[in-house]
């Protein structure tokens, strides 16, 4: 039966891996997750799942060599076997000259309210009821697709330096695309710690309204336009900027657009970006996957790049301290900020639209990817509602565009920032909290047929 294993039992089991003769150091990352997901399409529930898994990832250090083994056999024997396998790998590995040592004993801050019992123990019937509420919102000739997921995760990190940290978290995520009519679609979503804060009716209503308003999109020539990006589209830009730029290792190795740019202006002074997993406004763990407590990091402060985030390895190279941003080992990508905040402004959505002479209102982007990492150029498509704005008024929906655009250039051309922010993307414990943006020039490089 799913339920919290709890810190005492976790500690007792991982001790079996920590007690490893022949090792100079051992670290165990423990993950226990159970979730339920109700997936719907064509306004019916077509794929629903539930699963539970418990895994450990053991990193062993012996004579400066490092090996990692993972297993979902969460028993003392399973833990011992994983540790022995990792130790075997150290025997053939070359010495890791940059190995920074394991995280020292340190108290991880509490994050009250991160675990919601109702979400952890939600039932398929509760999720189905929420989906039915959502699916009732669109008009008759429209249909809804999407997924409602409730998940609970226990994470712990223990090592032979005496560090032990443990945190349970929950997450409820509901997303939908409503489509139909003559042609057109709209999307809406929400991600919260507790399912009680996910308003299925409001999400359904919002997506249905967008689907209604995006009927019969007209063809419009590709080119440069003013643009109003709703938070999901801004979330895509924030996530890609983080991926290309904010990792301490990427910066140190000269692969980041911010390499060698600490203290330099990189975008509009209206832009401030930080990472803060401890904020109650985001979904995140209070420590990283090496067991280092998370710190708030100011990444871009009023347009000036300050610093990236670090794990222990990148911190050693940069002669800095870990900021608590390690991913699970072996992790050749280096550290990553999982809880971005793009600071809000004071404009309403109406202000952003009213300020636009001739531009596009974009609901969200789809299937974006990197074109040029140093220029921070990405490409992707608009999706689920794009409109032409003229003289401060929404005129009509337009067909989807491909954009090919430098993120830092776009952030240099910001004119207004929305006063409300939402969690706009989430993946692997990551959640970016961003507002809408009005940007004076954005490159739409080609158009699609719908």
């Amino acid at each position: 039966m799913p339920g919290l294993i709890g810190p005492d039992e976790v500690r007792a089991t991982v001790e079996a891996a920590l007690d490893l003769p022949g090792a100079d150091g051992v670290e165990v990352l423990f993950l226990h997750e159970w979730n339920g997901l109700t997936r719907f399409a064509n306004s019916s529930i077509h794929q629903s799942t539930a699963r539970e898994d418990t895994g450990i990832r053991v990193r062993v250090i012996s004579e400066g060599r490092v090996g990692v083994a993972s297993s979902n056999d969460f028993t003392k024997d399973g833990a011992r076997r994983a540790a022995a396998s990792a130790l075997e790998m150290t025997e053939v590995a070359a010495p890791d000259l940059l190995f920074p040592g394991l995280a020292p004993k340190a108290e991880a801050p509490e994050k009250p309210g991160a675990f919601d019992e109702a979400t952890a123990f939600s039932t398929p019937e509760q999720r189905a009821e929420a989906v039915a509420t959502l699916a009732a919102q669109p008009d008759r000739d429209f249909h809804a697709a999407g997924a409602f997921e409730t998940s609970a995760v226990e994470v712990a990190v223990a090592n032979t330096e005496g560090q032990f940290c443990y945190a349970p978290t929950t997450q409820a995520s509901l997303n939908t695309v409503v489509s139909g009519g003559r042609s057109g679609s709209g999307a809406a979503d929400a991600a919260e710690t507790g399912m009680g804060d996910v308003d299925a009716e409001e999400i359904g209503r919002r997506a249905a309204a967008k689907a209604r308003d995006s009927q019969d999109p007209r063809e419009l020539a590709a080119g440069r336009y003013e643009v109003v990006l709703e938070p999901p589209a801004v979330g895509t830009m924030a996530s890609f900027l983080a991926y290309m730029g904010f990792g301490g290792r990427t910066i140190e190795e000269g692969r980041s657009p911010f390499s060698g740019k600490a203290g330099e202006k990189v975008c509009s002074e209206m832009i401030t970006i930080s990472d803060d997993a401890l904020s109650p406004l985001t979904i995140g763990l209070p420590f990283d996957f090496e067991g280092t407590p998370k710190q708030k990091v100011a990444l871009i402060d009023q347009g000036v790049f300050r610093t990236g985030v670090h794990d222990r390895r990148s911190a050693k190279r940069a002669r800095a301290e870990s900021t608590g941003h390690a991913l699970p080992p072996p992790n050749p990508e280096g550290p990553f900020p999982l809880n971005l905040f793009l600071a809000t402004g004071d404009a309403s959505m109406e202000d952003l639209i009213a300020s636009t002479t001739r531009g596009l209102l974009v609901s969200r982007f789809h299937y974006s990817n990197i074109v040029h990492p140093i220029e921070t150029t990405i490409t992707g498509m608009t999706r689920d509602g794009t409109w032409l704005i003229e003289d401060g008024q929404i005129k009509h929906p337009v067909r989807n565009f491909r954009f090919t655009q430098s993120i830092l250039e776009a952030l240099s051309n910001v004119e207004l920032i929305g006063r409300e922010s939402v969690i706009a993307s989430e993946f692997f414990f990551a959640a970016s909290r961003v507002p809408a943006l009005k940007i004076s020039s954005f490159n739409f490089s080609s158009a699609s047929d719908h």
Partner: protein, 481 residues
């Protein structure tokens, strides 16, 4: 035998709880990953994950539940949970799911391999990639010399309430080198044999020995450094010759995904999207030029989509998707084949034990034409040759795409001349495939592996294969800014 008993018990538990149909899979996945950068160990990692997934139909509604524990009480609980999930799904009415018939069989299948990669000593593997890294580092100006090996074994025991009992073991081996050059704020990369960790096949360690990682290491490193001083790929409409490793990406995104029948029926709408292709396009839609024939073939030796049976017990199949340029068939499952009468593709696969099977590409192959890559280039007066994927993006109906490659060269009077960096190209799916006027012959045909195809909610990664030769396309927009 013990594992088969567990899955039989899982099916029985689901039936006792009220399932009209049930199948269960015990899956054990093992992987070993080694990565070296600049002759330092970046990671050496082994993983094991095993558990049971139970899929049920109750009154025509699906339910699925999975657990890592296999004691009897947990299996009973999971079977009953799958049934309660299916019952909850009936909260919204829909046409009950029907399954196309399949002959239930008792069978075993294994990837044919010559040398078990998990028994090759670790120090031999480490020595190989250390040496590849060393050879790359001999080239002046290189920042990072990375080499990697990846091994994967998946053992599945499948039982259905229709009487199927199937045991399979799939083995994949892969490896590659990647050279990164950095200068003046520019980062350039070359990989061999392919980007994103190399060339992965359903094969044993013999595949690694055949890759030629050491022989090609220096050239790859040299090209990465040369790219730093190359010009950007010019922006123009021109003739484009794609290397087979990029034809693979083109086919994956603009043929494989849009022909998955679940996408066509709207079942993936909220996440990956739908498709521009409709059921009544079969036999009519001119998808490509008459040179273009594309099949879905899970019987092809060596592909990552090669196996004996899919995860709903359908035997491996070869289905023609596009024949001489005309769209013929979708990639269909037992459920979707009854909605839109279609041949079964044997293409339902789940990412591990913990996920519901979905329609996934098997091996989606562009049938070979004639001639070598050199001959296709030799027959091209002016154009661009691109190799090795770096980036991909396509719209939610798979119409408008833009893909990037590591390197390109100008073709002038049948010869490769100036090298270009940051090449990309864009187009509209059917326009692009209709412009295909040359496909290389079987001597250039390579079965590549794509081990990270994403789909579904919760997200699942599939290992799919693609056979392709280099191919030529006319009037393509390259150098998109």
């Amino acid at each position: 035998v013990l594992v088969l008993e567990v899955v039989r018990e899982a099916v029985e538990a689901a039936r006792r709880a009220g399932a009209d149909y049930a199948d269960a899979r015990f899956v054990s996945e093992e992987s070993e990953t080694l990565t070296v950068r600049n002759q330092e160990m970046e990671g050496i990692d082994r993983s094991l994950s095993q558990g049971v997934g139970i899929r049920v139909l109750v009154n025509g509604y699906w339910g699925f539940a999975a657990t890592a524990r296999t004691d009897e009480a947990e299996i009973d609980r999971t079977g009953a949970l799958a049934v309660s999930i299916a019952r909850a799904a009936s909260r919204l009415p829909m046409e009950p799911v029907r399954l196309a018939p399949v002959q239930p069989v008792t069978a075993e299948w294994r990837t044919p391999i010559q040398e078990d990669p998990f028994t090759v000593p670790l120090d031999e593997k480490v020595s190989l990639i250390m040496e590849a890294s060393r050879r790359m580092q001999e080239v002046d100006g290189l920042a990072f010399a990375e080499a990697n090996l990846d091994f994967y074994r998946r053992s599945t025991s499948f039982v259905s309430s229709e009487g199927a009992s199937i045991e399979q073991t799939v083995v994949n081996s892969g490896g590659g080198v990647e050279a990164t050059a950095i200068s003046g704020g520019d980062v350039q990369r070359r990989s061999f044999p392919n980007s994103f960790r190399g060339h992965i096949r359903a094969a044993g360690y013999e595949h690694i020995r055949s890759l030629g990682l050491l022989e090609e290491a220096e050239r790859v490193a040299r090209e990465a450094v040369e790219l730093l001083s190359a010009k950007d790929c010019p922006s123009e409409k021109t003739t484009l010759v794609l290397d087979s490793n990029q034809v693979v990406l083109q086919m994956h995104e603009s043929v494989g995904h849009p022909l998955e029948l679940d996408r066509v029926l709207g079942m993936e709408e909220a996440y990956a999207g739908t498709s521009f292709v409709r059921p009544d396009d079969r036999g009519k839609l001119r998808y490509g030029s008459d040179k273009v024939t594309i099949v879905a073939d899970s019987t092809l030796p060596g592909g990552l989509g090669t196996y004996g049976f899919d995860d709903e017990g359908v035997p491996a199949q070869r289905v023609t998707l596009i024949e001489d340029g005309t769209f013929q068939n979708f990639i269909a499952s037992r459920e979707t084949a009854t909605v839109v009468s279609s041949p079964l593709a044997g293409a339902m696969r789940a990412d591990g034990w913990q996920n519901l099977p979905l329609i996934r590409m098997t091996n989606i192959n562009l049938e070979p034409g004639e001639g070598s890559r050199a001959e296709i280039i030799g027959d091209t007066k002016d154009g661009i040759f691109m190799t090795t994927n770096t980036s991909w993006s396509i719209d939610d109906k798979r119409v408008n795409f833009q893909f990037g490659c590591e390197a390109a060269w100008r073709i002038k009077d049948g010869k490769l001349t100036e090298m270009y960096k940051n090449p990309n190209y864009a187009g509209i799916t059917t326009d692009f495939w209709r412009s295909c006027d040359a496909i290389g012959g079987s001597e250039e045909w390579v079965v590549w592996g794509t081990p990270n195809c994403g789909k579904g909610q919760p997200g699942q990664a599939a290992r799919v294969g693609h056979g392709a030769s280099p191919a030529r396309f006319r009037d393509v927009q390259v150098g998109v800014r």
